[in-house]
């Protein structure tokens, strides 16, 4: 069954590379949101996530021959590409820390701000809501990439340990260990940001 799906994706990909827009849209719409969320949560910037998703698909067109349906689904292949691009992006700009308002974009453009609460209907509630997540997002960006990645996949994308291990190409034990250390660091960072000294030990 999975092999059939992979073969279908392979067929779609070949058609897309030959200029079939419909085939491209089927692939793009099936995977763009996952890739975008991963890039956004890893970089903390909407513009970077946008650019990275675009780069992922351009890479897919250039290197479509590398996709082997026998080795796994297209989603995993795309995740491998976005992961590489995110890593390169973070290597290029390691010292950058986004502003509390969600980076260069207006706060209203941030995905969190786009959800549910309207700044016009309830400005105070919206601000509180926004700040609550801004602090968490900032703390996330301050922990090392490999731990952040495990948290993004298991706690935000809510993947199982096994799925995360497959995507990260490592054993489940490694995912568990990275999660533990990442969570401990995240808690410590949140405490620090709240300026409430508390012992949150990252072992």
């Amino acid at each position: 069954m999975q092999t059939e799906l992979n073969a279908r994706e392979d067929d779609l990909l070949r058609r897309a590379v030959q200029g079939d827009e419909q085939a491209f849209l089927l692939i793009y719409r099936a995977h763009q949101a996952t890739l975008y969320r991963y890039a956004l949560r890893m970089t903390g910037r909407t513009w970077a996530a946008e650019e990275l998703v675009q780069e992922v698909f351009l890479t897919l067109f250039r290197e479509s021959a590398r996709f082997d349906p026998a080795r796994g689904p297209l989603g995993a292949f795309l995740f491998g590409i976005v992961r590489n691009h995110v890593r390169k992006h973070l290597d290029r700009s390691p010292a950058e820390v986004p502003l509390d308002d969600g980076g260069e974009l207006p706060a209203a453009a941030h995905p969190v701000a786009q959800a549910k609460l309207s700044p016009l209907a309830n400005p105070a509630g919206w601000t509180e809501h926004r700040q609550k997540f801004a602090q968490l997002e900032r703390a996330m960006l301050e922990i090392p990439e490999e731990f952040r990645e495990a948290i993004v996949l298991c706690d935000l994308e809510e993947l199982s340990y096994e799925e995360a291990a497959k995507l990260l190409n490592c054993p489940i034990g490694t995912v568990r260990s990275r999660l533990h250390r990442g969570r401990a660091l995240l808690m410590a960072r949140m405490e620090f940001l709240r300026e409430q000294p508390r012992k949150a030990v990252a072992r």
């Binding site: 793009y28 096994e162 949140m190």
Partner: protein, 233 residues
Amino acid sequence: MSQHERPMTCEQFGETGFDFDRPDAGLSLEEQAAAETHLRNCPECAAQRESWGALQGRLRELARETRDAQTPERVELQLRRHVARLGYQRHWQRRKRVAVGFALAAAAAILLMVGVRRWEHSMAKKAPSPEPPAANPPEVVRGPRLSTESPSGSNVALAASLTQDEFVPIPGSMPIPGDDGAIVQMRMQRGALGALGLAVNEAQADEWIVVDMLVSVDGQPEAVRLARTTDGT
């Protein structure tokens, strides 16, 4: 002795993760039981897990809030433009390939035709002709011979009105009075008689025959007949 038969340490508890009770965490029932026991007996780890519980709630909320985050439509538009460009380039590349293919095929056909023609010419020049054609005077003229000479050919077939008995005058020839002329025996294709104005059966035009040609003193052929062989045929 298994490590889980002893009480779990804080470090070991940390290794299992805070969500040791998660079904997909890959822990055995013994490991889960050991972690629960450790949690009951270790206030520090219990406090950490409680903190984690609060943070996990916020992470889940953040996950919910951003679950519908999508790449802006402009990215899709840009990529669609790219795909359309790929299709356009591919279309033209295909047409270019077809055109180049046709051009190459045409060039190859022309070269082949020229080659065949040249080969035919060269073969025609190189091939030793079994007998020189009569239409080529330097090769066929062996000097006047008497009609009694034995012909080398074996032909006895008659061409139109041509016989072995009588000379047939060549149309348009002007016999010189008092000139006996000379008889030249030559081998020629029957079709060559057509050039002298004689009627030739086209079905036998390729046939080689030996003829006696009566030639006047000025070198003009006046009459022709089939040559006689020594045995009188």
